[in-house]
């Protein structure tokens, strides 16, 4: 299925169809991730790939136009040759790789046994993905959050957000009454679900990244069905900018707090009375920081693209 979708993306020329297919592609790969036991990853891929990325792509092709022009004198041979040769070399490389789902493959011998065997006792939470993400590999995660923040700053400085000054005409009947009613019905549940994913991430699949994305999807749905003006009144961009920065600050601040308490940077064991209690507290705080930054960043990205498109019309 995934392969067929990819071939269709390669062949098609209509951008709208390509963007829609890439959404389907993401949903399919999320299913594959579930089959491969990666529930947290599937969660993220479904929300990001099929949700936000499709919306951003659509916003962009709304600005740049839907159809591609055919290149006059195209040479398909050289790219095809390069791709085939690279692929053949890579296939040759896989011959030495361990077999699929082999339990004695090198990847399962290094640090993974420690994570699987000790983390439920050391960190005290059952979801190993969360404990690795937030505690063992807290540095990495902090780096990722900073990258998201930096990309947000980049987008804002490239295209910026234009806040509409004129409110829409509320006296006229709404253009999409059914969609608006349904959206009103769904938004509170999506937000509730986001909060559940945020604070239940220690026990089930979930965490700050997923919760942030899901939360922003609720606002994006509201903005899409109502208007940009309504969305920005609900979550004003200048407040979102502060929140995005505050999330990074919470993450880094927790690290500094552990330093002041006498531990290593991002070693939460010193925060509580016992080591496990400290880990709980630390993970809760930094997951909140992650969720804050991701949610605010995704909403701001969406607003940036949408406002750019609207101001052109």
């Amino acid at each position: 299925m995934l392969v067929f979708t990819t071939v269709a993306i390669v062949r098609l020329r209509s951008l709208f169809a390509i963007v829609m297919l890439s959404g389907i592609y993401s949903l399919l790969s999320a299913n594959i991730f579930i089959v491969l036991d990666a529930v947290d990853v599937a969660f993220t891929e479904a929300a990001v790939g099929a949700g936000i990325s499709t919306v951003l792509m659509l916003a962009t092709i709304g600005i740049t136009g839907y159809e591609m022009k055919k290149r006059s004198n195209i040479k398909r041979f050289i790219p095809l040759l390069v791709v085939t040769v690279t692929g053949a070399v890579l296939v040759y490389g896989t011959l030495d790789m361990p077999a699929f789902s082999d339990a004695i493959a090198p990847i399962h011998q290094h640090v993974a046994p420690r994570y699987i065997l000790d983390s439920p006792q050391e960190i005290g939470i059952p979801n190993m993905v969360t404990s690795v993400l937030a505690s063992y590999r807290g540095y990495d995660t902090m780096g990722e959050v900073i990258v998201v923040f930096a990309a947000l700053v980049g987008v804002l400085s490239l295209i910026g957000i234009r806040e509409p000054k004129v409110p829409p005409n509320y006296i006229e009947p709404p253009a999409r009454p059914i969609l608006q009613v349904m959206a009103k019905f769904f938004v509170p549940f999506i937000i509730l679900f986001a909060l559940y994913v945020q604070f239940h991430g220690d026990f089930g699949p979930g965490g700050g990244f997923q919760a942030g994305v899901i939360f922003s999807v609720a606002i994006i749905l509201y903005t899409l069905t109502f208007s940009q003006y309504d969305g920005m009144r609900l979550t004003p961009p200048h407040i979102l900018k502060i929140l995005a920065a505050a999330g990074v600050l919470i993450f880094g601040g927790t690290g500094v707090w552990t330093l002041l308490k006498g531990g290593n940077f991002l070693n939460y064991s010193v925060l509580g009375k016992t080591s496990v209690e400290g880990q709980h507290l630390g993970i809760l705080i930094i997951e909140f920081g992650v969720g804050l930054t991701v949610a605010a960043a995704m909403m701001l990205l969406f607003f940036a693209f949408v406002s750019r498109g609207n101001s052109k019309l």
Binding site: A38, V48, I63, R76, V83, G87, A112, V129, L133, G212
Partner: protein, 129 residues
């Protein structure tokens, strides 16, 4: 059955090469970005498939289960997806600026305009191929 034990890598390689092909053969900047996304997803797939263990379950500790898939690739890819959307949106923002500056997102037209600006003449026929 050597060949079937490695099929996950081959699916990954096919997807990666398809994305790579879109990236270098496509003339349209947004389609290039989608190709890059497919390339990226294939890498995700590679990591996650390597973390799978026969008979293993999702890495959430439950009483009575001892065989879990490797949580480390999940963590890496989970964050990589969110970073991926952030960088994709940066690329899309660049495309929007290019559209506003050149009024086109077709690569060959942009190259032609650049050449024209630098040399004051149209692109020689040999270079457009």
């Amino acid at each position: 059955m050597m060949s079937f034990e490695l099929y996950n890598y081959w699916v990954v390689i096919f997807l990666m090469m398809a994305g790579f092909y879109i990236l270098i053969a496509s003339n349209h900047l947004i389609k290039k970005i989608i190709g890059l996304n497919i390339f990226q997803t294939s890498v995700f797939m590679l990591y996650i498939s390597m973390g799978k263990v026969t008979g293993g379950t999702a890495p959430i500790a439950v009483e009575g289960i001892t065989n879990y898939s490797n949580p480390l690739p999940h963590v890496l890819i989970l964050t990589a997806i969110v970073v991926g959307i952030a960088t994709t949106s940066l690329a899309l923002a660049l495309v929007i600026r290019i559209k506003e500056a050149y009024d086109t997102v077709q690569e060959d037209e942009i190259l032609e305009m650049d050449y024209n600006d630098d040399h004051g003449t149209a692109l020689p026929e040999a270079d457009t191929k």
